[in-house]
């Protein structure tokens, strides 16, 4: 039995004044799975994940959650199932960290109701699970990039989604924070059956943690499959248009480098 609760069917998108950003992309996401979307800059990764998050209406094709088209879902109910982490959250106002994380509880609170004590507890738990509980009282504008990313992740977790979509979350993180992020995601997959879809440039990470890799080139899927199948010299050379890229499996890890 396949447990694919979330599917993209023949997605395509073209920006009004630009070339086609995504064409004919189909994906299936199972419960407790981790999928990485890789590709060169401008290959349509962000456009694709924005369509998956319901932020961008597909030009054609559709996104299906539990057999129902995403546009048919009531926004608040959809928000209980899918959380999205933008590349960066610009902080225009000095919100408190706990306040930001509590905003993730919104889909679970009826309109015109204020957050209850239970919601605060859930928010604090989410902060703890990303190792950011000590930041609860801090102001978001005063945090480092890495700390901020952990807070935003906690916000998404407070939403208690089944599917977490992340758009290049590790780009502003150092090695320690990247490792922490991946550990947190892996743990949530085990504990809650969370499904993760992440746009990333971090090929080293994708090899060991993810179980499915989707490689995009010029808006199309060039290859998808297990890390061992996609993270391979020939495929990567084509994905990035870089003939000197090399990939090698070592134990459970994949090493990717570029020859001088």
């Amino acid at each position: 039995m396949t447990a694919h609760f979330f599917e993209a069917e023949h997605l395509a998108y073209a920006y009004p004044a630009g070339p086609v950003a995504v064409r004919d992309v189909s994906l299936s996401i199972a419960r407790a799975s981790m999928t990485a979307i890789i590709g060169a800059n401008g290959s349509g990764k962000s456009t694709l994940i924005r369509m998956l998050a319901g932020l961008l209406r597909p030009g054609s094709g559709r996104v299906v959650l539990d057999g129902v088209g995403l546009d048919k879902w009531q926004p608040r109910l959809r928000a209980r199932e899918i959380a999205y982490l933008p590349q960066s959250t610009a902080a225009a106002f000095p919100f408190r960290v706990l306040e930001l994380v509590l905003s993730g509880r919104t889909p679970h609170i009826p309109p015109f109701h204020l957050d209850a004590v239970a919601d605060r507890e859930r928010a604090l738990q989410a902060l703890e699970s990303t190792g950011a509980a000590h930041l609860a009282d801090r102001v978001i504008t005063g945090l480092s990039g890495g700390e901020r990313q952990m807070v935003i992740l906690a916000r998404a977790l407070a939403q208690e989604p089944r599917l977490l979509l992340l758009d290049e979350p590790s780009s502003s993180l150092d090695l320690k924070h990247r490792a922490e992020l991946m550990r947190t995601l892996a743990r949530l997959r085990e504990e809650r059956g969370l499904a993760v879809v992440m746009v990333t440039h971090d090929l080293q990470l994708t090899g060991s943690v993810f179980d499915h890799i989707v490689a995009l080139r010029a808006g199309e899927i060039l290859a998808q499959g297990r890390p061992g199948e996609v993270l391979e010299t020939g495929v990567l050379a084509e994905v990035y248009g870089e003939p000197k890229v090399r990939a090698q499996r070592m134990g459970g890890q994949t090493l990717v480098w570029v020859e001088a």
Partner: protein, 340 residues
């Protein structure tokens, strides 16, 4: 900092009740001061015995204080809403050109002598609403490239729309008859002068539903202030929220400007004062700005009425003198965020 940190430790309900209770007391005190202060001393004994004092109080003093409350509350609450909507702490009805657009609409109504009412609402208000709506639509269209609002472009577009609006008002003033021109001039300077309670009633008819509708968007605006994409993935219908807040802001500001003229910076100072005192949550900032905005303009007007030995200062001059420096301070603070 530590005071604000303990703010967040308390649940939102408790913070909301406490902050609104404090601001309500501030408003009541401000109203009492506004009613007590004036060229003519009026006390309670006179109100019951002296018919002249009573007339003065009911026809001039009370309406003027109520006018300050309504206009101040309106400008402040829309300022808070627009700041959240555009995620820009420098946004307010003036910096976004909404007031300017409302002023053009109102000038046209005054110039043509439109005194008719539609369902009890003066045509003047509707004209100001139309002008404000036009301005906000233009500013938004200019500052939007693709899916993004460019922060610098937003304020620049707003300021330019305001300048053009001012030029249009001046043009209208020069081509119409001297009588109407004088009325426009006096109104443009920003004054809360009003005779009798009837105009107040007309304003309430539009403003109270407008305020309530805007407050109903508090939670959506709170999420929008954090991040537009985040708000959308948390269940906010972003485009519907934007349209509603634009329309309601134009309506509220249109009426405030048609009635009170050019009173600047209330929408900027007041929401930030509420933020500094009670934190960033829009569910507190919006109703809090409504209360503090009313109190602030009543007090500013009390000052305007009494600061000169003879005659009075336009209240817009007082709010401008306070608001300009506040704007610059916020600009500096914002730049220090941008670095981080």
């Amino acid at each position: 900092m530590s005071a604000a940190a303990s703010e967040i430790a308390a649940p939102l309900r408790a913070r909301l009740i406490r902050s609104l209770a404090i601001l309500l007391v501030v408003l009541v005190v401000a109203t009492a001061v506004g009613l007590a202060v004036g060229r003519q001393q009026i006390n309670f004994a006179q109100l019951s015995s002296d018919p002249f004092a009573r007339t003065l109080f009911l026809r001039l003093r009370l309406p003027r204080v109520l006018m300050g409350l309504l206009v101040g509350a309106s400008l402040a609450v829309t300022g808070a809403a627009l700041q959240a909507l555009f995620r820009n702490p420098l946004a307010d009805p003036f910096t976004l050109g909404v007031s300017g657009g409302g002023a053009v609409g109102a000038s046209i109504a005054i110039a043509f002598g439109w005194t008719a009412r539609v369902f009890g609402t003066p045509l003047l208000f509707l004209a100001a609403f139309g002008g404000a709506m036009l301005a906000v639509t233009m500013v938004r269209a200019i500052s939007r490239t693709g899916a993004l609002i460019v922060p610098g472009a937003l304020l620049l577009a707003g300021v330019v729309v305001n300048l053009v609006s001012l030029a249009m008002v001046l043009t209208i003033q020069y081509v119409i008859d001297p009588d109407s021109a004088l009325r426009i001039l006096r109104w443009m300077m920003g004054s809360l002068d009003v005779v009798g309670l009837e105009p107040i009633g007309h304003m309430l008819l539009v403003l109270v539903p407008g305020w309530l509708a805007l407050l109903a968007f508090s939670r959506q605006l709170h999420l929008m202030a954090i991040d537009e994409d985040t708000a959308a993935t948390l269940g906010v219908n972003v485009s519907r929220c934007e349209t509603a807040v634009h329309t309601l802001s134009s309506l509220i500001v249109g009426v405030a400007v048609a009635a009170g003229g050019a009173i600047g910076f209330v929408g900027l100072i007041v929401p930030h004062a509420v933020r500094l005192m009670f934190g960033e949550d829009l569910r507190i900032v919006l109703p809090g700005s409504l209360l503090l905005g009313g109190a602030f303009l009543i007090l500013a007007d009390a000052l305007a009425r009494t600061v000169l030995p003879a005659g009075e200062l336009p209240v817009g001059a007082i709010t401008g003198l306070l608001g300009g420096p506040a704007f610059l301070w916020l600009l500096r603070r914002r730049q220090s965020y941008a670095v981080m």
